[in-house]
Amino acid sequence: MENVRVLEIKEDIASRNNEQAKSIRAELKEKKICFLNIMSSPGSGKTTLIVNLVNRLKDRYRIGVIEADIDSAVDAYTVAEKTGVKTIQIHTGGACHLTCQMSYDSLCALGVDDLDLVILENIGNLVCPAEFDTGATANLVILSVPEGDDKPLKYPLMFEVASAVAVTKKDVLPAFDFSIESAEKNVRMRKPDAPVFFVSAATGEGMDGLVSYVEGEIAKVAD
């Protein structure tokens, strides 16, 4: 006989993800591991910045990198080749964001117990990665000069979840109608207390400030 009935699920997708993220964060803090989630639009310079940061930090800290991509593995090869640190590539299979489960699985796949810092390159997208907490201990949001200084107004949530913002490709400033003051003001509207760094991964300008920031985040979980 056929029976029809209703099963209550009442599951808020975001809240389930948030719960899981909280427990990952607690576990990482327990193990004194800093987990830095890097988010931006496609092509803003995440991979280039990661290579740069890792090379400036790797003598003092044990670092691992997780590269998330919809389908390719180019970024992981680039990072592994240019930094020499432990790097894995994960695929979202078409999806434009990483759920906390994927983030957890990739931490396990990477093996983090012997690390001080894990850097995650999230999917290039300013919308939904902001809605899915990865369990990171800090979110670094990247905005590149060619994208324009109004992005924090158009993608409010991304900047609200930022622990810090790095404005990259500062070297191309003369070629674009981009105001440093407006960019900073627009970030402040979304996240008054987030530090904003203006850097160029190409010339190295401003990188020291960003490196100190990351060291501060590592220190925060270490004590």
Binding site: I9, K10, D12, I13, A95, C128
Partner: protein, 117 residues
């Protein structure tokens, strides 16, 4: 596309519940979607129709989307207002010191299932 990622996630959850409850198929899925969540209902439907064909239990599943209104609360004057009309700025006092109360959710409410005994 964002909707596809959400659809995949929703389908995974529902398939799990279906499996655990020994159902034959899921006839209807009710989902509550906030007005200012990042889900566009039409796109969500398209992704759902496309994805359900590859599932075990949702082949004939009908999708019900229940839209929840977006409401914001002003911390300066204590009033509540419609988020879609005024966004971050309170229409009562002009303050930006406001936050979203409802309208950002994506909830799997319930499913109607068919079991055979």
């Amino acid at each position: 596309m964002h909707e596809l990622g959400i659809v995949v996630h929703v389908i995974e959850q529902v398939e799990k519940v279906a499996e655990e409850n020994n159902v034959e198929k899921v006839a209807r899925l009710s989902l509550e979607v906030g007005e200012v969540s990042s889900v566009v209902p039409d796109l969500f439907r398209d992704c759902f129709e496309w994805s359900k064909k590859k599932t075990k239990y949702l082949q004939d599943c009908e999708l019900e989307l229940i839209i929840l209104e977006g409401l914001s609360y002003c911390q300066d004057c204590g009033e509540t207002y419609k988020t879609t009309e005024y966004a971050k700025k309170c229409p009562h006092c002009g303050s930006y010191n406001t936050y979203l109360v409802t309208g950002n959710e994506i909830n799997i409410k319930d499913i109607q299932v068919v079991t055979r005994t």
